[in-house]
Symmetry: C2
Subunit: 259 residues, 2 copies
């Protein structure tokens, strides 16, 4: 049987250690083609490049990582997937994986996540897709303890297929050397960022702000991604891009909108 074709992308950029680790993990499963941003794109959400030009460069960041071909793109993670599918790959890939992100994309972070936007873009195109994130922002984070679980999730996704309209958001707890305790299927925890804006004065006297904030968990459920992570488990949240709140349709139909 032909090896599966796996499109690898991310939002931290083509040189990020998390991407390089994912390439190495995936080459043991399939043929890997990389299309990743040429600069960090964290927090880009599902941005796409409409009013600007896009550039692609063929790259050889590290041949030993084992990709068949690598391309960097000047656009967002969603642009990378679109360009990869339309311009760079000879056939539809069997899987798209995004990451491994340096930092969590659990709970409400999924909304802001460039990593997940790439996976969702592939999902919209009907390609099984998974975003992987390690809950460690360090550039020198250790991705090796997660290798076995990541490969297991990918193999299961290739074997069973991912339900239509669903992409997987996989968050991995930070561990020193031991593997995570296991894998749990979860729902997205309710949470919020309590932003604080750090107000400063520039050398030329102009006020400016830095966005900072603290994560606030608003959910005590034991079936959430945050709960699984807190107990040392990998959290897998099936994530959809039909955003309709079906439960609210009936209630809105009771509003007097057409009187």
């Amino acid at each position: 049987m032909a090896k599966p074709l796996i499109l690898v992308t991310n939002d931290d950029g083509i040189t990020a250690p998390g991407l390089r680790a994912l390439i190495r993990f995936m080459k043991e499963i399939g043929d890997v083609i990389v299309v990743a941003p040429n600069s960090p794109q964290s927090g880009m959400g599902h941005a796409i490049t409409i009013d600007s030009t896009l550039y692609i460069e063929e790259e050889t960041i590290n041949r030993e990582d084992g990709a068949i071909a690598e391309y960097s793109c000047s656009g967002t993670p969603a642009d990378c997937v679109k360009l990869g599918l339309r311009e760079l790959l000879d056939r539809k890939p069997d899987l798209c994986v995004s990451g491994i992100n340096h930092g969590s994309n659990s709970s409400i972070n999924v909304i802001y996540s460039g990593t997940m936007s790439a996976a969702i873009e592939a999902g919209i195109e009907g390609i099984p897709a998974i975003g992987f994130s390690l809950c460690d922002f360090s550039w020198n984070a250790n991705f090796e303890p997660a290798k076995e679980a990541i490969q297991q999730i990918v193999r299961q996704a290739l074997e069973h297929g991912i339900p239509k309209g669903v992409v997987l958001n996989v968050n991995i707890p930070k561990t020193k050397t031991a593997s995570p305790k296991g894998i749990k299927i979860c729902r997205q925890a309710r949470a919020n960022w309590k932003e604080k804006f750090d107000k400063r004065i520039s050398p030329n006297g102009k006020e400016y702000y830095w966005l900072t904030g603290e994560f606030e968990l608003l959910d005590n459920g034991e079936d959430t991604d945050e709960h699984a992570l807190s107990k040392g488990f990998i959290a897998v949240v099936p994530t959809q891009f039909d955003l309709t709140a079906y439960h609210a349709i009936h209630r809105l139909n009771n509003w007097k909108l057409n009187d």
Copy 2:
């Protein structure tokens, strides 16, 4: 009773005619404060500014539109809402409205929409929020025919409240002068963009791409936003930011992830 406090924002920028129309429509209902991007931010999805500074300017674009105060911000639509809530407003607003967008944000477009990202950001903060979009990309689009319906939706939202965890995505059909036929509560239609990349050569010989594409409706349902719009109705989709695909959890639990 005190007038409601309404935060108005958008993604086309603080000078966009759609925003100016929304300010005029809202000042008849409440006290309006504007925090909007200082430049167009279409297609920004739910991007936020993490690795860069943010600037705010107090503005007087057109005093006659009737806002109490107006601020432009160097960031994304989601940044505008965060900054508005944390730094610029004295109290939590009773409502956040985003738009009126020049162009549709129906069906899958909601994923890429800066207009809706601002509304969703407010929704995450527990503020009733609505995104309005007119299916007309023209800068000179006529927003007046939608005035009555927009005000009716806003008044009903203020009266009933919007269900927790839900924001409204309102798309308005293009009409010459007549009002839309009515308002329908809908689900998000399944659809996709068939991208085409227009490949060109720069004056210095470098290849570059423009993202273009055609909208492809994949849904024949009569309960969708696209169907309502095609029949001349305003489409209201209750939209959620819990992205969990609950229906898929059981199926994923049958995978062999922990063997």
